[in-house]
């Protein structure tokens, strides 16, 4: 049992095979894509492997501490920022192979022309809790 994050990028991932921006899809293609994602999540709930799924707005703000008595400094968005996270799904599966298999399926979500996007997803294992028996 291990949790994995499937990370989806707006920007920063290697180019997808079917790399057409969403704004250029037909409304039906967008609906089909959204439906695929929903069905995928529902199916994983059915197999007892779904943990959560979230989407992020593309634009955010950079914030940092600016010393005692000062409000935090905000800045950005930075145009040069390479990596922009679009969203994620967290799964809880028995093996790494299963995580790869599911990431592959998610990457097959349909895009322009109703064809799979073949988008690159980043698969990251969660750090687990410490196990009791280690010796």
């Amino acid at each position: 049992m291990a949790k994995y994050l499937l990370l989806k990028h707006y920007r920063g991932a290697p180019a997808a095979v079917n790399d057409v921006p969403m704004a250029q899809w037909t409304p039906e293609e967008i609906s089909a894509h959204v439906q695929y994602m929903q069905d995928f999540a529902d199916r994983l709930e059915g197999t007892g492997e779904f943990v959560e799924s979230q989407a992020l707005a593309p634009e955010g703000t950079w914030v940092r501490y600016d010393g005692e008595g000062h409000p935090p400094v905000t800045d950005g968005p930075f145009a040069e920022t390479k990596d922009v996270i679009a969203g994620w799904m967290v799964i809880d599966v028995d093996t790494h192979e299963r995580a790869v298999e599911l990431a592959g399926e998610l990457s097959a979500a349909p895009g322009a022309g109703g064809k799979p996007i073949h988008e690159w997803l980043e698969l990251r294992p969660f750090l687990t809790g410490a196990h009791t028996i280690t010796e």
Binding site: D92, D94, A130, I133, E135
Partner: protein, 381 residues
Amino acid sequence: MSDALVRSLTPSVLGILVRRGADFAAAEDAVQDALIEAVRVWPAELPRDPKGWLVTVAWRRFLDATRADTARRRREDRVDEEPGPGPAPTVDDTLQLYFLCAHPSLTPSSAVALTLRAVGGLTTRQIAQAYLVPEATMAQRISRAKRTVSGVRFDKAGDVATVLRVFYLVFNEGYSGDVDLAAEAIRLTRQLAAVIDHPEVAGLLALMLLHHARRAARTAPDGSLVPLAEQDRGRWDTESIAEGVEILQAALARDRLGEYQAQAAVAALHADAPIAAETDWVQIVEWYDELARLTDSPVVRLNRAVAVGEADGPRAGLAALAALDDALPRHTAVAAYLHERDGDLATAARLYAEAAQKAPNLAERDHLTRQAARLNTRQRR
């Protein structure tokens, strides 16, 4: 009556329902309903015969659910309205439940979930919280597991090793949230030991008790890991150790060694040392040799290298380590430790930092990072 005591009746009540002819999945739901009812009603008035009460309520729930089902599907069911007392449930009925919930056709996570619910009597919500997944996901995992085992014949003897593996997984998960999985695993293993006489069941129970005894000493107040050698042994639970050692000795005396007994023997040798320096590492190496013969596990060979390092010096440990695949988890961490013992602090610091990058969990990563930082700070001075 405590919650744990209520739940200890779960497997035998479920066994009775199945023996009366209820199918496993429906009976399990009914028992779960009855447990929830018991938790609600019993504090006000404890029934004279708690088990009988649970059987009656669970059976009524089962009939109601079956009737509703029947009405919906408009077909006859063969369930008797008022069964007689039926054949008396036997110890074997209860035992079959353990086998069923750990059936080899289930994935480890499904077996764990089903065992915690059908044998442990935990609610789906509690299991979901313990494993940090949504309740809906856990509910599906459990109902799929039930479907998977629905065709398994209930009268066929299973392999106790599969059950023990599931308990081991539960114990090793530790504790997060409301449910103390380590304590739950001990409870379940104790319960199993009461219905089956098997040296490996005893071995696993001893192993759990010996490790559980160190729990208070294992983490610092800030939550960081305290390695065995640095633990305050005065905080070890001597009662738990004494019980674990006694159970282990009785099991070993039967001369049917298995991996859990051997692991427990290692833990017992640690428990036996009043201070870390007095640990009998030579005997521990011998037990790891036994374990390597029994399991062929890479973790065992890695731990053996650590033990060799303690028994025969760090050079010997490094030589033992060199024979192992360096892609093994924790290989780098062990190498770091042995190099430090050997006085090569620069290499040790580098390897600790590298090991931290590969650590599978947060506590271990933080611990290894601290080790690297400690050595780096010392070298700068």
